[in-house]
């Protein structure tokens, strides 16, 4: 579904990604972790071309992301993305946040878009807030709306960029619950997160990155078992024992 081949990326002369390759199959949940500045958010943003890359190739469902002839808006409209800071549109109501792309990008009728939006809000448990504005919701609620918004375009895969990092601790679980449910339904997911509990529960594979390189790319059991690099062990010991 998502294939990343030998990606390298530079900001000026600074190399942020070095020769990264991996693959996410249909229905697979892949967790990407690593210390800050390791390039994990950057690589996930390369997948839907929010960040350009200079070398290598990424294909999503067989379509090349780096090809200048690719219709990027169309490609992006098939991938859902959830951001660290939610990035709901503050001037639109919750329902309007969920209908905007359906109407303007997918060309659905306002009625059909609204039906879909309400179904998704019901699913993330926020039906009661459908007419509120994002600024009137808690962080956890906003992130659940953001997940619903990403789902509103019926994506073939979902990208999560540290979805719980900006949340107060008591709100993390309500967001993770929605993500776990999504994973169990068979959604293809690429998740940048430090939530190792989430990785243990639903991930098929774990990718560990450091300094712009993929250090480990293995099954969940291997990652949390013994066969891992010193660097990954050190990282895990730091985030698991506090």
């Amino acid at each position: 579904m998502i294939s990343i081949k030998n990606i390298s990326k530079w900001y000026g002369s600074f190399q942020v990604l070095t020769d990264c390759s991996t693959e996410v199959k249909k229905g697979e949940v892949v967790v990407v972790c690593g210390p800050s500045g390791s390039g994990k958010s950057t690589i996930i943003k390369c997948v839907n071309a929010l960040e350009p890359f200079q070398k290598g190739e990424i294909t999503v469902d067989g379509i090349s992301v780096g090809d200048p002839k690719t219709d990027l808006p169309k490609l992006r409209s098939r991938i859902g993305m959830v951001f660290q800071n939610f990035e709901l549109f503050p001037h639109l109501s919750v329902t309007e946040n969920l209908t905007l792309a359906q109407i303007k990008v997918l060309g659905r009728t306002p009625e059909a878009a609204r039906d879909k939006a309400l179904k998704l809000l019901d699913r993330v448990g926020l039906m009661a807030h459908k007419d509120k504005f994002p600024g009137q919701l808690s962080g956890g609620q906003q992130q659940r709306v953001a997940i619903a918004r990403a789902l509103s375009i019926d994506p073939i895969a979902m990208l999560f960029d540290e979805p719980t990092s900006a949340l107060d601790p008591e709100m993390i679980n309500e967001v993770l619950d929605v993500m776990v449910q999504l994973a169990q339904e068979g959604m293809t997911m690429m998740v940048v997160t430090h939530e190792m509990g989430f990785a243990k529960r639903v991930a098929h594979r774990v990718i560990f990155m450091d300094a712009g390189k993929i250090i480990e790319d293995c099954t969940k059991d291997d990652f949390f078992g013994t066969q891992r690099s010193e660097r990954a062990q050190l990282f895990l010991s730091k985030i698991l024992h506090h």
Partner: protein, 251 residues
Amino acid sequence: MNYNWEWSIYLAAEPGGTGIYIKYLVIGLGWTLATALAAWVIALAIGSVVGTLRTTPHKWVVRLGNAYVEIFRNVPLIVQMFLWFFVVPELLPKALGDWVKQMAPPWGSYLPAVMCLGLYTSVRIAEQVKSGIGSLSRGQGMAGTALGLTLGQNYRFVLLPQAFRIVLPPLTSEFMNVIKNSSVALTIGLLELTGRARAMQEFSFKVFEAFAAATVIYLLTNLVVVYGMRALEKKVRVPGLISASPTAGGH
């Protein structure tokens, strides 16, 4: 101060034969508003477009926008007024230039004044629109892009509705500025409010009364603008949104 105010001067006939002085001044207010409003429409249209273009990822478009802004921002208003009145008609194709120069008063002054004020104000609006868009978090644009919105749709539905709400207060000041700046048009012969106050002073030698009236009329006009814009701000206010900060409601 030892001055004998003569308030009844407003009711005296002005020598031009159009009626009493107060009517003469109110007609001046009419020209002030006609100039300012037309210039405001031009300024808002061009300023919004130029300000928006200067935030796009296209380098050459940004450079062109910057050049436009620097040209109109760095030359004094009164110099621009003279350029539009004396120089621009000479630069136009001959037939068009002659037509402009031969326009009956007050149109021969009105048109250059509107163009001048419109473009002069447009760069100030462009600056504000640009900084309004710039004040939004980068993630807002990314979120729109990630949903599949095109660049144009992203501006239309995500960025500009937020940016304009942010710049509404400074736009109020610009609107008042355009009304006040229209007084410079008297230098190219437009008999707007200030021009008429000056004429009244020359006809009647009542300088205090003439400019007292102009002062009060400008003040009242701008108060109307202030309250109008405040009502607009209230109307477009978004519940729960106090700033452009993305996590404002989170904690």
